[in-house]
Structures are given as C-alpha cells and as structure tokens.
C-alpha cells in the first residue's frame, strides 16, 4: 500500500466510523456528535491556516460569525430560504477573510495575532452595535419551519446528523487533498521556512492570502452550518473565546494533521462534558489535562501518533 492509499483509507475509515456511530451510539452521544462534526469543520478551517501554513490567528471567530450571520440575517431579515442563505453565509466569510487577510498579512508573528484579534473584536462590537438587527448577545432563533433544504427537515435529529456528516466529510476530504497538492506543500514550505520558499521563487504573500481565504471560508461554513442545524445565531460566537477554541482543539488534536481537528474537538467536548458531571470546578480539571497534554504530547494527539506510529499520516 502506498502512503496515499493509506491516508485515503484512513480518511474514508473515519467517515465510515462516524456514519456507523449514528446507529450504534445512544441518542445523547449522537446529538453531541452532530455538534462536534460542525465544530470540527471550524477546526479544520483553522488548522489549514495554523497547522499547515504556520499562521496563528486569534480572530477566527470573525469568520465563523461572518458565516453564521450571513446565513442567519439573510433568513431573518430578507426571508431567504436555507440554500441561498448558506451561499450568502459562505460569501460573507469569503469577503471578510479576503479583506482581513489582505490587511493582516502586512504583519507577521505576534503582530499578526494581535491584528487578527483586534479585527475580530471590532467585528464583535459591530454585531452588538447593530443590535436592533442582530439582537446582540441575546441572539435570535431561526424558526424550525425555515430550517429545511432540498426537502429535508434539518431540525430533525437524523437529517441533522447526516447533514453535519456530509459537510464535515466534504471539508475533511477536500482539505486532506489540498494539503497534499503542490499548493498545500508550498504552504507547508512557507510554514517551515518562509524566506527559503520565497527564494525558491514562490510568491509567499499571495499563497498566505489564499490560505487565509480558504481557512476563513471553511470557518464561515461551520458558522453557517451551526446556525442552520441548531437554529440559533448569537454574538457569543463572535467573542474571543470562539477564536481561542479552534486553537485549543487543533493544538490538542495535532496541528498540521488531517484528523487532528476532529480528535481535538471530540477530546475537548467530552473532557468538559465528563468533568462537569463530576465537579462544578470542571474548568480546573480541563485545564490540568490540557497542561499535561501540552507537556507530554506537545504535537497533539494525532501529531504524537504520527511521530511514533503512523509516519505516513498526512
């Protein structure tokens, strides 16, 4: 088996496992998994920029929110149906990430982190400012009747699960393919040594801009899917916290690995879920586990697996 076949097998296996989980797991976990898969799309988008291109953004909540509000507001204010609203969500995230990328890429390193953080904060304040439309922190519910696409009722648990799986699979496979393409390999080269990549004749600025746009648009898809499948859009999703989450997921799961984002989201979701059932100081337990992982598995779960066992893992 070649490495390419192995990684294809791995990716299809993960998708098959998720599909099987629906039939095997109790309802409670199936509900969790729908949410996890949507958040994993967000993590995949984040990982594309952080894990593969080496750019650490602290403002991805802005892209998530652009997708969420692009879809939510166009349904709420302009009565669009779900499918065109999803397109609006994607387009908003694309435009926002292009603009932010263009501006923020004039900086690098810590300045890039700060600039993206500031932009996201400005985005959050904008959502609050237009509270008469967005209803600010309180947010708004997308009526169940509107949450349907191509004749499927997306508020139904089964369709929701498979819609989330479908979107997740598309992003998962597309990004896996992309990072192994010449374009993706150039991004990895930029992550490893930008100056060398530039002096091999690659336009690193335009590569990084494309990476921001792809990453931001995938994150926006996650935001739009979240609003559509769970019927709610609110400004909490635009807060700093939602910019930090994908960083944590990706660090835990394994930055620069294709399956890391999913693993990170599952791990963190159940870490909080389990520890909060034991004690009210659940964030303390979560924090300790995070510190331990950073100490003993600095490359994240999938990253350590790749280092120790499956060297071929993409």
């Amino acid at each position: 088996m070649t490495d390419t076949q192995r990684s294809q097998g791995l990716h299809l296996g993960v998708i098959a496992l998720l599909a099987a989980a629906f039939f095997i797991l109790p309802t409670y976990h199936v509900g969790n998994l729908s949410r996890i898969m949507v958040l994993a799309i967000y993590a995949i988008g984040y990982n594309f920029l952080f894990g593969y291109t080496g750019l650490l953004s602290l403002g991805h909540a802005l892209f998530f929110a652009a997708g969420m509000y692009g879809l939510g507001l166009s349904m709420e204010l302009f009565d669009l149906s779900a499918a065109p609203a999803l397109i609006v969500g994607l387009a908003s995230a694309l435009v926002v990430s292009a603009v932010i990328g263009f501006l923020a890429l004039r900086t690098s390193g810590v300045s890039f982190m700060i600039v993206t953080l500031m932009f996201a904060q400005a985005g959050y304040l904008t959502i609050l400012y237009f509270g008469s439309y967005t209803r600010g922190d309180e947010g708004f519910v997308i009526p169940q009747a509107d949450r349907a696409m191509f004749g499927f009722d997306l508020s139904n648990d089964t369709t929701r699960y498979f819609a989330a799986l479908l979107l997740f699979s598309i992003c998962f496979l597309a990004v896996a393919r992309l990072v192994q393409s010449p374009f993706g390999r150039t991004l990895i080269a930029i992550r490893e040594n930008e100056e060398r990549a530039r002096m091999l004749g690659y336009n690193t600025v335009s590569h990084k801009l494309k990476a921001v746009i792809i990453s931001g648009t995938i994150s926006g898809l996650a935001g739009a899917a979240y609003a559509l499948l769970f019927g709610y859009a609110g400004a909490t999703f635009a807060t700093v916290q939602y910019s930090i989450f994908p960083l944590l997921w990706v660090l835990l799961g394994g930055a620069g690995t294709t399956i890391g984002p999913l693993i990170g989201v599952i791990f963190m979701f159940y870490l909080i879920d389990l520890s909060s059932s034991i004690t009210s100081a659940y964030m303390l337990i979560a924090g300790v586990v995070l510190v331990l992982l950073t100490l003993f598995a600095p490359q994240g779960l999938a990253g350590e697996l790749r280092k120790r066992v499956f060297k071929w893992m993409p």
Binding site: P182, L200, N203
Partner: protein, 243 residues
Amino acid sequence: MDAMNILSTKGLTKAYGGIKANTDIDFVLPRGKTMALIGPNGAGKSTFVGMLCGRIPATSGDVFFEGQNINALAAHQRISLGIAYTFQITSVFAGLSLHENVALAARRRLGTDTAAVNAKVADVLARVGLTERTDQIAGDLSYGHQRLLEIAMGLAQDPRLFILDEPTQGLADSEVADFIALINALAGETTILLIEHNMHVVMQTAAYITVLNGGEILAAGTPDEIHANEAVQAAYLGTTTNA
C-alpha cells in the same frame, strides 16, 4: 539584449543608515562562465548578491538580467526568471525530507508533473551524492550535508544563473573536491556567481574573479590578472594565500 553578459549592474548602492555596504558598483557577468566574487569579511559580497536576487532592496542603481532592467521585480519574480540562490547561512526546510526539499525547488518550474519532479529530484540528489538519504529529514543531516542539499535545491531549478554564497564553508575536504567537480561540470551550461573564501576552490573553478573591498570593486579579471594585481595583493590575497 546583451549577447555576452547575462547580468550587469550600474551604480548599484546599498546604504545601511550612514554606512555604505556597497558603493556605485558597475559589474558585468559573462554568460555561461563561472565568476568568483572574493573579498575580506564585511567587504559587501553578500549584500551585493542579495541585491541581485532581490532579497535586499537596493538604495540606488540598476540591475539588468538578460538585458532587462529588473529593479522593479520582487525576489520571487527574479528567481522565476531563472536565478537560483543559496544562502550564506544554510537555509533548508529542516522539518521536511530531502526529497520534499528538492521537490519544492523543482516543482515551481515543473508544476504538477509528478514524474518529472521525481526524476529531477533523483537526478540532482545523485549529483551531490545524497541519494541514500532521500527519505531522511533535512534537519537530521550534518551541516556539510545540509549545504549540499541546498546546492541540490539550486540545481533542481535548472537555473540560468546560479548564485552561491560561500557554499564550501563547513564542507569536508573530500566534499570540497566533489563540489569543484560539480561546478566545473555545470560550466557552459549555467552561469555561476560564486562567493568563496577558499582560494583553492576559486582557482580551480573560476574563469573570472571580481574582488570587492570596502563595498567597492577593487579589481576584476581572469585569475592570472587578479593574481598579478598589486592592489589585490596588498588588500587581500597577500594576507590569505600564497597559492
């Protein structure tokens, strides 16, 4: 279009604040030949080639490549015209395999043609003697091997002009001998601009020598001419070699 010279500069100058690292350099590089650029530490050699390939922005002056003024071109665009560059301080993709390092260099020109890229990678790794290490991680190589890898990355671009900044620094004697053979095998095929402190390498490879001193050209000519030049003797050769 200059049939004889692949590259030339007019009044090329670099100032760092008040300090001039390069002053008014007029330079011509004959096509298909190996030119050595020599001079004491701090003479401005790296600054000069940095301005040729666009890595260091010039303060004033012009650079012409194949008769075209390339002042306005960014570094990656100059590289795309066929200028390959190796850094004085080795710069490879330390976390990636040798194969991927060289493939990245080859891919910019060969694109998605995987077979052609793989053939190129195998070819140039063989030329620098790193074939058995194809699958190793570049960061695990010895310093000398990393230098050879960087040379391989230059070769993989099939450059029209290959600029090497002190490539033999840190190489073992046997590797230096191989390097001389490699450069001489490229002569005629590619124009080479070689910054070199090792006078043995210079004498064995260069058809022409340019001597930089204090940011200015002190002398230029064939090795014999340079050897006979008294100013050069005084400033540089006399103190470092008796070849």
